[in-house]
């Protein structure tokens, strides 16, 4: 709408001023001609020219007057020539008394002071231009008015509903801040910017709620998990303080240092999981052949497995390209191998572990499998949670953070950890996006 107004204004100024200029040029030329004739032939010299031109109805208008202002020649009769400033442009309306001209038309003219006090007005009927100008101005005004009205109307309606929706978002956030964490931003369904904003706010709220839920669970579990060793440590210290036996006291202190180390390890694992979930390390991931890490870690664990009458087999080829960090991959693998060694002894007593790597569709799949008791189907998701240990495992060292750590590493790398049945035993599979 605004652009129409701009175009019209341009047309207006450009065309009108061009037309007006042309008229003025014509008048000026006429004035020059007539003044020359006057200089040569005096009043008589121009009288004839004026009479001849005014014989027919035309666009040019003239008036020759004597020094007192009385009409001598020309079709313009009604002009109060004395009250018009000398040697200047002026506009006037043609009267019915004027001859051979259309009354009520607008005219544009020049008033010349001739030598000896005679006066001459040369003018032109500019009604056409005036009408044209008015028409353009008219449409311009209308256009502008229309634009303003429509703009205001639509704008008000729009900003009303906009404000109403912003208000409801504000209200909802207020409610959430007051503790109603499950509340969500309203969505109008139009899919506009506000809806997109509401969507991403809701996604954020979902994530926060999930994290907070996790935190609550963790703090509960941490409190519980700390209580047992702390109670034990406290009892041991009290005992040592009461006794006199130096050797026994020393033993108690050593035991406590050992327990402290375990607690620290628990905290470190928890912190690692938290950091992984925060996802900061995602920026420093690089292309890595997981094969090298598999081989490394297998080599690191092989002697230990052999010591336990077990074996570790590596079934993989180079080229398992993933976006990761060697350290993180190794950490995930050592946790899985650690579990396999702890829980994966088969019925005949040996622990037979297979570490394999393959490319499956768009994923690199790395698996660690054993032939132990495995994890019952119903517990396979649960064991990925922090501090979850199955009853049969309580006799073995550990605090139930291993699989959580592996799972959060997999998530950080854009993949997932899947626990499967190895018939018999457990197969832990890391599905990570292939990056080759």
């Amino acid at each position: 709408m605004a652009s129409i107004v701009v175009i019209l204004s341009y047309v207006y100024y450009d065309t009108i001023s061009l037309l007006e200029q042309q008229d003025q040029e014509t008048i000026r030329a006429d004035v020059l001609g007539l003044t020359d004739q006057y200089r040569v032939g005096g009043v008589a010299g121009i009288l004839e020219t004026i009479e001849r031109r005014n014989a027919q109805k035309g666009e040019m208008l003239y008036m020759l007057a004597d020094p007192s202002g009385s009409h001598i020649a020309g079709n313009l009769v009604s002009l109060p020539i004395n009250s018009i400033p000398d040697d200047s442009w002026f506009d006037f309306k043609i009267k019915s008394a004027d001859k051979n001209a259309t009354a009520d038309h607008t005219a544009h003219g020049y008033n010349v002071q001739l030598p000896d006090g005679y006066q001459l007005v040369v003018a032109r009927d500019v009604e056409d231009i005036r009408v044209f100008r008015d028409r353009i101005l008219y449409s311009l005004y209308w256009g502008l008015g229309f634009a303003v009205v429509i703009g205001l109307g639509v704008g008000t309606a729009f900003s009303r509903s906009f404000l109403r929706r912003v208000d409801s978002i504000t209200n909802t956030s207020q409610k959430i801040m007051n503790g109603n964490l499950s509340d969500r931003m309203p969505i109008s369904g139009s899919g506009d910017e506000l809806d997109r904003l509401a969507h991403s706010l809701n996604d954020m709220l979902n994530k926060i709620e999930l994290l907070m839920q996790g935190m609550r669970e963790v703090s509960g579990n941490v409190a519980h998990d700390l209580k047992t060793p702390l109670t034990r440590m406290r009892a041991r210290l009290e005992d040592a303080l009461r006794g006199e036996d130096k050797v026994a006291q020393r033993h108690a202190l050593e035991q406590n240092v050992h327990d402290c180390d375990n607690l620290l390890a628990t905290f470190n694992a928890l912190l690692s999981i938290t950091q992984l979930e925060a996802g900061q390390q995602r920026t420093s991931l690089e292309n890595l052949d997981a094969y090298a890490t598999l081989a490394d870690v297998v080599e690191l664990y092989e002697p230990l497995a052999e010591e336990n009458h077990g074996t570790i087999q590596l079934r993989a080829q180079p080229g398992l390209i993933i976006k990761a960090k060697r350290e993180l991959m190794a950490q995930a693998l050592t946790n899985l191998l650690d579990n396999a060694l702890k829980y994966g002894a088969s019925k005949d007593g040996g622990t037979h572990i297979i570490v394999s790597g393959r490319i499956e569709q768009s994923n690199t799949v790395i698996s660690v499998s054993d032939q132990g008791t495995g994890i019952p189907e119903k517990d396979r998701t649960r064991v990925l949670d922090r501090f979850v240990r199955l009853d049969e495992s309580r006799t073995k060292p550990g605090n139930g953070l291993g699989l959580s750590l592996v799972s959060s590493i997999a998530t950080l790398l854009g993949g997932k950890l899947i626990i499967r049945d190895n018939n018999p035993g457990l197969k832990a599979e890391l599905h990570l996006p292939y990056a080759g």
Binding site: K325, Q331, D338
Partner: protein, 247 residues
Amino acid sequence: MQPQKNETNADLTGDVWAGTGNYMRILIIEDDKDAASWLMKGLKESGHIVDLASDGELGFAVANEGRHDVLIVDRMLPKVDGLTIISQLRSNGHKTPILILSALSDVDERVKGLRAGGDDYLAKPYSFSELLARVEGLGARKLLDPKDAKLKAADLELDLLTRTVTRDGKPIVLQPREFKLLEYLVRNAGHIVTRTMLLENVWDYHFDPQTNVIDVHVSRLRGKLDKGFAEPLLQTVRGAGYMIRAR
């Protein structure tokens, strides 16, 4: 936690401090008073001369005099940050070995520390025996020329070019990783090397696997080294780590 002399019972730090014999001048730059005095006490009892600076500015000034054999620098310090001190010292041309202490344990932080010019990085909380082993290892490091093609400890000889090992002239066949492990132990001969140091330097892992995988590797190596010899060369220092006899 501090080691006591003349104790018949093996304590946690064992005879950590007794191993080295020659003392070092150590500068601790650490603002935590408790941690600093605990460190100072332990290091002094281990026979070292210890100075303490409690902020970065003072720490840098003292370290810049170049009178110390090893610097222990806390990562986060008031006034001037630990890493800034280190990179400034390095650009001033100081080569003093530096151990960085930090509450930040993740690998990226570690890399930053080493890039700034630190020689070793220890995450808090750490045990005193771990710290002492690393400090003494750093102090001894400058005695060895890394370009030497042959390393010796007692009657053991490693040829780094041919990757062969002999003890008392008799060849010992080692796997590549075992060779690397032995090389690290021999470079630190006469000093205690902790399990974590081995994991970091021989395997390049900077996390703690739950199970102690290192012990099995070391005992296999020991089996090969000491088989047929009356005097054991590779010793276990209870509660601390391992050590290869220098003589």
